[in-house]
Symmetry: C2
């Protein structure tokens, strides 16, 4: 009773680009460009590797519109200082847009940028993986 039971027509877990295609694609670039790609991937993995960064982005990936600080705080159960740091990093990486409204009570909304949206299929894939596997 631990595995998925009676799964409703799960489409193939073939998320676009395969490993071979990705390798071939990268090798089609000049050396300098390959090096840039390598560095960008490393930086990206470094950012995503920080605690809760993936979880935060995942929330945006499955949310309809913008999210507020307290939304994320409540949903993820993460300390405010840490959340604050993560949001600032994501904002500086141009993955989240920060909009502050001068009201009472104050309101700050975070919205994923297009750069972030083009990253969201990753979270859809992770979600799909979780449907078919356990941990």
């Amino acid at each position: 009773m631990t595995g998925p039971s009676d799964p409703p027509a799960v489409p193939d877990l073939d998320s676009g680009l395969s490993r071979e295609e990705a390798i071939a694609l990268r090798e089609s670039f000049e050396d300098a460009e390959q090096e840039r790609i390598r560095r960008t991937v490393a930086e990206l993995l470094d950012l995503l590797g920080k605690a809760h960064t993936m979880a935060v982005l995942s929330e945006f990936a499955f949310a309809e519109g913008p999210l507020r600080f307290s939304d994320l705080e409540a949903e993820l159960g993460i300390a405010p200082n840490t959340l604050s740091t993560r949001l600032r990093e994501l904002n500086e990486a141009a993955l989240l847009e920060r909009d502050a409204y001068d009201e009472v009570p104050p309101r700050v909304e975070y919205t994923p940028t297009e750069r972030a949206e083009s990253l969201f299929p990753v979270f859809a894939h992770l979600h799909h993986w979780a449907i078919e596997h356990e941990l």
Copy 2:
């Protein structure tokens, strides 16, 4: 000179499952199963969120066969104790298989399992993202 120049025919960055499809798919399950999926995703994000886990998996995603401890240590420039911990976690999560050969010099090989391989398109997508964006 910072952006990509003369990009050779990059295929569309449309990695299979969209956000809407992922949401619809999840909602097609019963509540109990949805809860299991939610928890699995959370655990997965927690594991991937640990420092260097993504980087380690990424190495396997683009490597041909198995990798050795020293390969990863040299490639990622990460402390041996930390690498040791990450490899053990990934092994316990059944994402890496560990094979020790009793030779001189000793040899230990880590091989991604099928579970891990079904996760690799994620890294191909991240790589693809890095081709089209900066950080």
